[in-house]
Amino acid sequence: MTRPSGGWWATRRNRQFALIVCFLLPSLVVFFLYRLLPLGWNVILSFQAWSPLKPAQWIGLENYAEMWAYDDVFWVALKNTLIFIAASPLAIAAALGIALLVNSDLKGAAVYRTIVFLSYPLMAVAVGIIWRWMYDERGGIINYALRASGLTTRPIGFLQDFDWALPSVIFAEVWQVIGFYMIILLTGLQSIPPNLYEAAHIDGAPARARFFRITVPMLRPSLFLCAVVGILNSFGSFDLVYIMTNGGPGHATELLITHIYKSAFVQSKFDYAAALTVVQFGLLVILTVAANRAAGGNVGAVERD
């Protein structure tokens, strides 16, 4: 046996490896510089006392203790974020309903599909502004419609009222993302072989059973994909809240993400914002992993026989 001479470069395997590295490197550099490095630095920062003009000082868990014991806004923001997340199953259910309708023989289904999806590519800032107008107390179309139909006599300050603000923001958020859910679910629905329904029909399964025993289990990966996207969206809907209410009235629509923003860039508490970010990140990872586990580890996959 003679080994090819020329050292490391001579074997085909190693040359291929070098090529793979070359292709991966640009993405890895970006990923490292803009994701891993800030995240790592953020974790370190969360254990320090630091502001732009002072040298960093190691203070251990003090930022976290402050969050736990003294920061009422943190708890409000956490609660609101969880409510935001809890709304996504409702949105997914609504999207499933629309997807089922659009998937039926309904006349003009393609048109409805496009209309429903149109909201998704809109910029969140634009969505925020549109909905702010619609919710407006004096000139908003929703108040106009409510009064014209006689449902209310006095205008509702949707974004100013402590009880209405959060549901109103969530509704706008759901309105935007529902088209995305619908497309995901529609794709899932269309990948279910129609003869499964025919077989079930002949087998005698009533419509309800066909839905729960075929549609839902076959859609499971798509449903969980929506759930994961919903969780991510809830954590990230900074722009929408920022535009519509900026966390107000009071802290009624404060989310973790807006709280982080305000701590860092309004109050210049970068160290404390870092700790908040770590908590948000941890929560995000836990929920996402849990959702993926619940889906059997195949979120987004298409199950076939």
Partner: protein
């Protein structure tokens, strides 16, 4: 236990009619195969019997009951689909038990009946698996299990073997035949494969362009094809169909092929068709090597395909190209002389204008 009656059944999609009035009586316990090329309407007809397609005209009855307006689940039929239609997220047991759960069968009863069906199909060891862990043949068995566990009045098979490879298909064909001996339920089976049709059927329904061409036992359709279409469709190697002319002369009745080859016809049967142009049908397996003494047709081999057990020879006879299935080693290569004969009874004549058998 039920008969199935189709009375001038029609199907149209919008203005286009795809099934043009089919009449068929399936006897109790009979195994009927609908066969024809793709697009002939056989699957549509089966789906109408199952209730998966509306009936545009005519009547379908199962037993004494007209089922036109009856929901598929209440027709008491079971269907085996081409791609099995197993529920991918359910185990084999759950797949087979599925229909029983909606028919008010008790748990213990379900377990017993599933076990029984599994035993018949030899899939007892697979009951805990999911469909994706099964091979094609095993999935096919599960699909059958799902049908037989119901003990329905009628089995409907929609090309159940089409997705299997050639070897497995032959094997499963035999299995279906065996199963048939154990479970004698009325069955309607759709296929495009004439071998499957011939081997499985009590009676064959040959369909073409939405019409029934012929209904009969496998022997009937082979021995006496009613139309040119049936003649060309049935048979392991396709029947030779060539133009000819009937002649009723001093030497008796005969048909003349191409530029002069003369085939004697049975006396008297075709006398009325004297001088008529006809299409002559000769099965390759009926053209036999002619021995000394028998009047023979002389031709020249063009293509020789040895199959081992016999040899397919394409040869030129009086300007017509014919195929014959001959014993091995008589004709070796292209250019060799071919000398064949055919019994007068084995000659089929068709009217080229209508395509009907004379």
């Amino acid at each position: 236990m039920a008969t199935v009656s189709l009375r001038s059944v029609r199907k149209s999609y919008d203005a286009q009619e795809v099934v043009h009035g089919v009449d068929l009586e399936v006897a109790d316990q009979e195994f009927v195969v609908l066969v024809g090329p793709s697009g002939c309407g056989k699957s549509t007809l089966l789906r109408m019997i199952a209730g998966l397609e509306d009936i545009s005209g005519g009547e379908i009855a199962i037993g004494d009951r007209v089922v036109n307006e009856i929901d598929p689940k209440d027709r008491d039929v079971a269907m085996v689909f081409q791609d099995y239609a197993l529920y991918p997220h359910l185990t084999v047991f759950q797949n087979i038990a599925f229909s029983l759960q909606y028919r008010g069968v008790g748990k213990a009863d379900i377990a017993r009946r599933v076990a029984q069906a599994a035993a018949i199909l030899d899939i007892e060891s697979l009951l805990d698996r999911k469909p994706r862990q099964l091979s094609g043949g095993q999935r096919q068995r599960v699909a059958m299990g799902r049908a037989i566990v119901r003990e329905p009045k009628v089995f409907l098979f929609d090309e159940p073997l089409s997705n299997l490879d050639a070897k497995l298909r032959v094997q499963m064909r035999t299995e279906i035949k065996k199963l048939r001996e154990r479970v004698r339920t009325t069955a309607i089976y759709v296929t495009h494969d004439q071998v499957e049709a011939m081997t499985l059927a009590d009676r064959i329904v040959l369909m073409h362009n939405g019409r029934v061409e012929q209904i009969g036992t496998p022997e009937d359709v082979y021995d006496e094809p009613a139309t040119l279409f049936v003649a060309g469709f049935v048979g392991a190697s396709a029947m030779n169909l060539v133009a000819g002319r009937v002649e009723n002369g001093a030497q008796g009745c005969a048909v003349i092929l191409g530029n002069g080859a003369r085939l004697a016809l049975p006396a008297s049967r075709f006398e009325a068709h004297a001088d008529m142009p006809v299409t002559v049908g000769l099965r390759p397996e009926h053209l036999h090597w002619s021995h000394y003494g028998t009047p023979s047709l002389q031709g020249t081999a063009r293509v020789v395909e040895p199959l081992g057990s016999d040899t397919l020879v394409v040869f030129d006879l009086a300007g017509c190209e014919l195929q014959a299935r001959l014993p091995p080693r008589l004709v070796r290569r292209a250019g060799d002389p071919v000398s064949v004969a055919i019994a007068p009874e084995a000659i089929h004549l068709f009217d080229p204008a209508t395509g009907h058998r004379l």
